[in-house]
Amino acid sequence: MLAIEVERLRKQFKVQKNREGLKGALLDLFKREYTEVTAVKDISFQIPQGEICGYIGENGAGKSTTIKMLTGILVPTSGKILVNGYVPYKDRETFVQGIGVVFGQRSQLWWDIGVIESFRLLRKVYRVDERDFKRRLDELVETLQLGDLLNRPVRKLSLGQRMRCELVAALLHNPSILFLDEPTIGLDIVVKTEIREFLKRLNREHGTTILLTTHDLQDIEALCSRVIMLDDGNIIYDGSLEELKSRWSKGREVQFQFSDPVSLQALSALTAGQGVRWTKENEMTAKVWIPREMNVSDVLSRVVGAMEISDIKIFETNTDEIVREIYRTGGSEKTAEAENGEALPAMAGADSRD
């Protein structure tokens, strides 16, 4: 069954234009001018139950707007949304019983009261049975190690502690879908890892569908089987992380530190016919670029057999670089190619720069 179904979803905002100067300000008093901004442009996607899906894109790409429409906060301008079988903005009060939401930048806990008091209040709000609540809370408190935090007021928690409490708060009513809007923002690496582990476990043990937006691609690598990438309100990629990497990645580079001075010709001759490319850093150091589909060992074996090597380093283009590249080149003109599922000629061209 599908947990989330979105079809040609669109959201437009009217943004007020402020005219310049005193005259402009006076004019604004009487007649406002607005510009229409389309934050989400007719996107469609489906997420099956039990999937962990990452939703990425630059700031202002429309991620948060989509999440807010999916959680029933915003009313879409047009298009169809079905989450858990509900139209979120229409049946909001029943619908939200089945979802959990965490906004990394906003707290849903009450600032002045103890964490446990917030949880009890939420139990009442969601009408969770006392026994279920107890069991669920114990389980969550144990896995997230919150034991001694429960009686502290929220304002005395560190960000990492608060974030773990936010997760508990979003999960007390045992939702089948969890929405996370930048859940790891501003957290240190230890807490990030803890939260990732927890989410994985939640997905594994309870089959919870998770949709998260993030700027931290390690979140995606650690968690997501699927990535949806958004740029300027359009989906520019929807598929597995592996495929994203292989489609956009530029291969690997291996740097050799030789014991003796070498020449480019000699190196090129060694790897003739392999389609690799050598560049010389200095007298003793050279780099070889290896296309993604080729094994590094094929190249290594030829070089190692012929030369004396004092050091080797392998550089893999990591996801950060890939994504930065996509953002930078503006994914929009590649949308068509991405949808056709073909290798990208533009990228391939850039690669063979010899």
Binding site: L74, V101, R106
Partner: protein, 249 residues
């Protein structure tokens, strides 16, 4: 509660001082006069005390809270909960009102009656009616507050509007000056506005200026205003949901 002990006692004192200030002001205005605007000096003293008692209950800052929720975007979190946002805010206001009435106003009233010659009615029926009437006062005032707060969805900053509303309610509801003291045309206009239903009507009933079948009429006016204000709130809320532009991401 203990942590806020100073806050608590000063709250009681503030109510006593407010009533005292108005008492002395009216005493000066009355001078030797027996009756002004249909109020005897004694009735006026009681009216002042009663209107403050009502105000303790109906007053709340829902407008500010709602507009803050909207401006800092935390209304988004509220919308992910299975309840009606406006209902929750109203109930929160009710809790605050009850707290203020029982813990600030009641002790303040005891202090005030010891100092000033305030005669409160002894008829339990009148007390019952008064309680019903200030319940409506609370509802109407909160409805006005909710509407003022919701304006934050439509304008970027509704600070000015909130200040205006606060002064308007205090002045036109009859806390500062009973409506009978306004010039003829003004009190005629005010009869057609919801503000008199907040303080003036319950105050007048409780001090005995309105009696007999007129009491039911006053109650009916309140109920009518409560009903009339439901629709605009519903319309505003609907429009707001469509416009909702969660600020700050």
């Amino acid at each position: 509660m203990l942590a806020y002990r100073v806050n608590y006692y000063s709250g009681i004192v503030i109510y006593a001082i407010n009533i005292g200030a108005y008492y002395f002001m009216w005493k000066a205005i009355y001078g030797d006069a027996e009756q002004l605007g249909g109020f005897t000096a004694g009735q006026m003293t009681t009216y002042v005390a009663v209107s403050w008692m009502a105000r303790a209950f109906y007053f709340n800052n829902l407008d500010r809270e709602i507009s803050n929720d909207i401006r800092d975007g935390s209304v988004a979190v509220q919308m992910t909960r299975p309840y009606s946002y406006i209902m929750v805010k109203m109930m929160q206001g009710f809790g605050e009102g009850l707290f203020r009435l029982l813990l600030f106003m009641a002790p303040g009233m005891v202090v005030v009656t010891l100092i000033f010659p305030i005669e409160l009615p002894t008829d339990p029926v009148l007390w019952m009616i008064f309680l019903v009437m200030i319940w409506f006062s609370f509802l109407i005032n909160s409805q006005i507050n909710v509407m003022t707060g919701l304006f934050a969805f439509f304008v970027e900053n509704n600070e000015g509007l909130m200040r205006m509303k606060r002064v308007t309610v205090d002045l036109l509801s009859g806390v500062v000056v009973p409506i009978a003291f306004f010039p003829g045309w003004a009190s005629e206009v005010l009869k057609w506005l919801p503000f008199q239903a907040i303080t003036y009507l319950p105050g007048s009933v409780f001090t005995g200026r309105i009696a007999g079948s007129a009491v039911w009429e006053a109650l009916l006016v309140q109920a009518a205003w409560f009903a009339a204000l439901i629709a605009p709130i519903a319309i505003m809320w609907r429009a707001a949901r469509k416009r909702l532009f969660v600020q700050g991401g």
